[in-house]
């Protein structure tokens, strides 16, 4: 306590009176700066142009990997979109048509029926039907082709890394900063090197997608394995499992509910990347969204955006159902190949039948344009109506928040001396976790100052800080309410899946129309995107509380409120904190998008670097984003650890 008082007192003195005597604490002098930008720029240049392993260069290696990924991608693309082609470009000739829309819908319906019954079949059939009816089929199949390659890579890769992290603690320690970097360095920062290494096109898009979508899978794998009850492990040991059996037969199955959250996140984040992916040649729905909004065709943008959501929902619910089925079904199989696999057989029969029928009647091959429907100008008219009738009220509300909360907070943060903030962060680290943590947090903070991006970093902290606070204020109550109400939870799940996969561009442009460009609009976008994990992890944590403990609480005469605050929330704390961590990570990952509405933060720095093709500058700005994330993560983690020990949750 005393050290806090002294620290804060000195800090306040420096802040209020330090400027004339210690100007260096406010503006970093040249002697303390690091030319990191040039080092990284030079290093990347060396890596992609000169690095040599004796037999091949790094570029050779990555181009080889690109071919390896490209092969299954081409198959998926031929199957879903282009058909089997011979030749290239405009001279290509189609030998076989792609899956017809009827066959594709039929197959997903069969998969739904197999994995989760008629309800699921209706849901996924409806989602795919939506794509056809709204004229998004062709684009959606291009997007689907890259997702069916990227998502499994992310899930399997993430799971394996997570298992490794669980088994070897040194590996986990190594993995942690790497995961932070993967999730927080904005994709635009390393887009150019990826394009050089993997070539221009869908393969690069797949690589970028996997890099971005894999970390939550790894994190949640490690967490889920850690929370497997000791009794289960003991049982595994008692029956004499080998390490391999222990992992795959005991640990992974009992951690399944947690792992499935990871699978959900990988699919959601993969679909979240389709906008960026479309910028580097993946095409598909992301391109449709971008192009529509550039001509302010809100209706088409919304329809293409909702098509992405429909894909996400269908893929997610299907994968969840398959995982549940694998766990629960191991019944005796009937004799005969067809009888044993009726669904596979039906699907295989469907393809040639509809394919041949499609050759004869073209509306069976591709959904006829005359039957397509569109919301047309409904969305544009809606925005226009709000704009014309309510703009003044919205403007007044915005100004109220902006002038009383956002701008003062921003000015306050910008006025702080960097040296004082670095020391204060170090002090917090020291008090919470000793010297090691002090170094781990103060060094990244110093790094931001040393590369000369302090004020942009402060604007980032201001924007993300306010957004995360609002996201948590909205997310926690919803999570708590929905956790025990099954119906509500289903609805909430749909809503947050929509928020996470609907490209923010779709609601960003209407938001600009109603709130102009600037910090407020950026904040809306960040909150809308980052609220999902706050809700999801809160609900997950509460749902996983041991029912026996709740029974015990009831027996002891707890009121509902006591039950919630004294038992459930405390036990769910690890998940809730992971939720806050993910909220911060997602808020930071939105930075590049916020740069699109004119903020002056690190996201803008990354964006400028991209337009100038300056890899060094972009990566340095990206690293600063990661530094902010790491400081926040470590301090929250250490604070949470202390809290848990005080509550007696941890031995």
């Amino acid at each position: 306590m005393l050290s806090w008082l002294i620290g804060l007192g000195l800090f306040a003195l420096l802040w209020l009176f330090g400027k004339p005597v210690a100007g260096w604490a406010f503006k970093i002098p040249h002697g303390l700066r690091l030319p990191l930008k040039n080092w990284i720029g030079g290093g990347m240049k060396w890596l992609v142009e000169e690095a040599y392993f004796g037999l091949f260069t790094v570029t050779d290696l990555t181009r080889f990997l690109a071919e390896v990924i490209d092969f299954p991608y081409r198959i998926a693309l031929s199957l879903l979109s282009t058909g089997l082609l011979s030749g290239q470009g405009s001279q290509a000739v189609q030998l076989l048509p792609p899956l017809s829309w009827i066959a594709a819908i039929g197959i997903v319906v069969l998969m739904g029926r197999y994995a989760g019954g008629w309800r699921l079949a209706a849901l996924v059939g409806g989602c795919f039907g939506f794509l056809a009816v709204f004229g998004q089929w062709d684009n959606a199949m291009i997007t689907l082709a890259s997702i069916v390659i990227a998502a499994p890579l992310g899930i399997v890769g993430g799971l394996l890394l997570g298992l490794g992290g669980h088994r070897w603690s040194w590996f986990a320690a190594l993995l942690k900063p790497v995961l932070d970097l993967m999730q927080t360095v904005p994709i635009f920062a390393y887009l150019v090197p990826i394009l050089v290494l993997f070539g221009f096109g869908p393969t690069s898009a797949v690589v970028a997608t996997v890099v971005y979508a894999l970390p939550p899978m790894t994190r949640i794998t490690m967490l889920a394995l850690k929370t497997v009850p000791d009794e289960v492990r003991d049982l595994g040991r008692m029956v004499g499992c080998t390490p391999r059996q222990m992992t795959w037969r005991v640990m992974v199955p009992s951690a399944m509910p947690g792992l499935m959250v990871g699978v959900n996140q990988v699919i959601m984040l993969s679909l979240n990347m389709v906008i960026v992916a479309s910028m580097i040649g993946a095409g598909g729905l992301g391109y449709e969204v971008l192009a529509a909004l550039r001509r302010l065709d809100i209706g088409t943008g919304v329809e293409a955006g909702l098509a992405i959501v429909a894909l996400a929902v269908a893929l997610d619910r299907l994968s969840q159902a398959f995982a549940r089925r694998i766990r629960s079904h191991a019944e005796d199989l009937p004799q005969g190949l067809v009888r044993r696999h009726p669904y596979t057989a039906a699907a295989l029969a469907l393809v040639p039948v509809t394919g041949l029928a499609g050759l004869a009647i073209s509306l069976l091959q591709s959904y006829p344009e005359s039957l397509q429907i569109t919301t047309g100008s409904v969305w544009s008219d809606l925005v226009r109506y709000i704009n014309v009738n309510f703009f003044d009220q919205l403007e007044a509300f915005k100004n109220l928040l902006l002038l009383n909360l956002l701008i003062p907070f921003k000015r306050f943060l910008l006025s702080l001396p960097w040296a004082g903030v670095v020391i204060l962060i170090g002090l917090a680290g020291w008090r919470l976790g000793g010297w090691k943590l002090a170094l781990q947090t103060a060094l990244p903070a110093y790094l931001i100052a040393a590369v000369g991006l302090w004020s942009k970093a402060m604007i980032t902290v201001y924007l993300c800080g306010i957004s995360v606070a609002i996201a948590c204020l909205i997310g926690f109550p919803i999570g708590i309410l929905a956790a025990e109400r099954d119906r509500l939870w289903k609805g909430v799940q749909l809503a947050i899946d929509t928020l996470q996969t609907l490209p923010s561009f779709v609601y960003l442009m209407p938001a600009v129309m109603l709130f102009r460009v600037g910090d407020f609009t950026a904040m809306i976008a960040v909150v809308a995107y980052a609220v999902a994990p706050a809700i999801r992890y809160t609900a997950l944590g509460l749902q996983q509380v041991d029912p026996q403990l709740i029974e015990a609480g009831k027996a002891a005469g707890c009121t509902r409120w006591q039950l919630l605050t004294k038992i459930k929330l405390k036990l769910a704390l690890p998940e809730i904190l992971l939720g806050i961590n993910q909220t911060i990570m997602l808020a930071l990952s939105m930075l590049v998008i916020t740069a699109l509405v004119g903020t002056r933060d690190l996201g803008q720095e990354v964006y400028i670097a991209l337009t100038k093709a300056d890899t060094g500058r972009g990566l340095v700005a990206g690293l600063c984003v990661a530094c902010i994330a790491i400081v926040a993560d470590r301090l929250i983690g250490a604070g949470a650890g202390r809290l848990r020990r005080r509550l007696g949750l941890e031995r």
Binding site: E67, D70, F71, L84, S86, G87, Q88, G89, S90, Q91, A92, V93, L95, L191, V192, L195, V196, G199, F200, S278, M279, I280, G281, G283, Y287, L290, A291, L293, R294, R295, L296, R384, N387, V388, F391, L402, L403, I407, L508, M509, P510, V512, M513, L514, R516, V517, G518, T594, L596, V597, G598, T599, R600, Q604, Y607, I608, L610, T611, K612, A613
Partner: protein
């Protein structure tokens, strides 16, 4: 494996496909042209693509980001980019051409215009417009203000990445106006649409060829005309102590290509070099697509039919 499949497929195609009668071209590999996300560029590129197809070349369109595409152009993953604007793409283009891997194939014939713009109804508030001196009047400039900029007027500039020296311009001409930067052009025109719906004041960066000056009625502010000396020499112009006391330059839109195009498809290289279209022609085509709802393909086909003399000259 992949190569083998491709080869097999190609062999199959040669066996079965009815080969159209085609002129001899140097290579049957597809020439990859990049598509971006604005309509004018799609039209330009597809006109070029159609012309090349008529000459017998194999053409492939690849969706690519405007700036990120240079990486692909440098190593030959991509071949041709049809619209690099002097005003927004110059840095990236110069960086790429300096490596020797990318070649500038000259002007498209279109001139990029960009300047401060206001809707016609603002003339009621500021009768002195389009002369820039009207903005010196505080009542006129103040009409454009918002809570954040008051009492100064608000000018919505392009993304900082576009450059344009608007902050400097406002300072040098001593305009009572604060410059706010949009992040993308979509945001820029979203604000314009919003203000136009409400007939509310707005002063912003508009460029052409684009659908906005076709759709909305308005005018560009007339600043002292640009001269190179204005940007370089503070003594030039009205303010003897500051540069940028003039309007913006109007610059060409360039065509660029991977340096290997010249050797691999010499005929196509010459055709791309010869390509030109005009501003008005392009403005009309963009409006056809973005405002009248026709498809890019229809509009391109219409242009091809109407201008056969012109494009057949490019591919001789």
């Amino acid at each position: 494996m992949h190569r083998v499949l491709q080869a097999a497929a190609l062999a199959a195609a040669l066996a079965f496909a009815p080969w159209q009668a085609q002129a001899e071209v140097e290579s049957n590999d597809p020439i990859k042209l990049t598509l971006h996300d604005w309509t004018g560029q799609l039209i330009t590129t597809q006109i070029m693509g159609e012309v090349l197809k008529r000459a017998g070349y194999n053409v492939d369109y690849v969706q690519a980001d405007y700036i990120a595409q240079f990486t692909g152009l440098k190593n030959g993953d991509l071949d041709v980019a049809m619209e690099i604007w002097e005003t927004t793409g110059r840095d990236a283009m110069d960086e790429a051409t300096a490596t020797g891997q990318v070649e500038n194939l000259g002007e498209t014939g279109m001139q990029a215009i960009e300047e401060w713009w206001y809707p016609a109804y603002m003339k009621e508030v500021c009768p002195g417009l389009p002369n820039w001196e009207a903005l010196l009047d505080e009542d006129c400039a103040g009409a454009f203000s918002t809570a954040e900029t008051a009492p100064l007027g608000r000018y919505l500039g392009g993304p900082v990445t576009w450059g344009g020296y608007d902050d400097e311009r406002a300072m040098a001409l001593e305009l009572p106006i604060e410059v706010v930067h949009a992040g993308t052009d979509a945001a820029l025109f979203a604000e314009l649409e919003s203000a136009y719906q409400r007939k509310a004041p707005i002063l912003l960066w508009v460029y052409a060829p684009h659908w906005a000056p076709v759709k909305y009625e308005g005018e560009w502010v007339e600043f002292p005309a640009y001269e190179a000396a204005c940007y370089r020499d503070p003594e030039w112009g009205i303010n003897p102590d500051a540069a940028y006391d003039c309007g913006k330059p109007r610059g060409p839109i360039w065509k660029v290509a991977y340096a290997g195009v010249k050797g691999k498809w010499p005929g196509a290289y010459e055709a791309i070099k010869a390509f030109t279209v005009g501003n008005d022609e392009m403005g009309a085509m963009v409006a056809e697509v973005d405002l009248n709802g026709r498809t890019v393909e229809e509009v391109v086909a219409g242009w091809m039919a109407d201008n056969e003399d012109r494009w057949s000259g490019w591919i001789e």
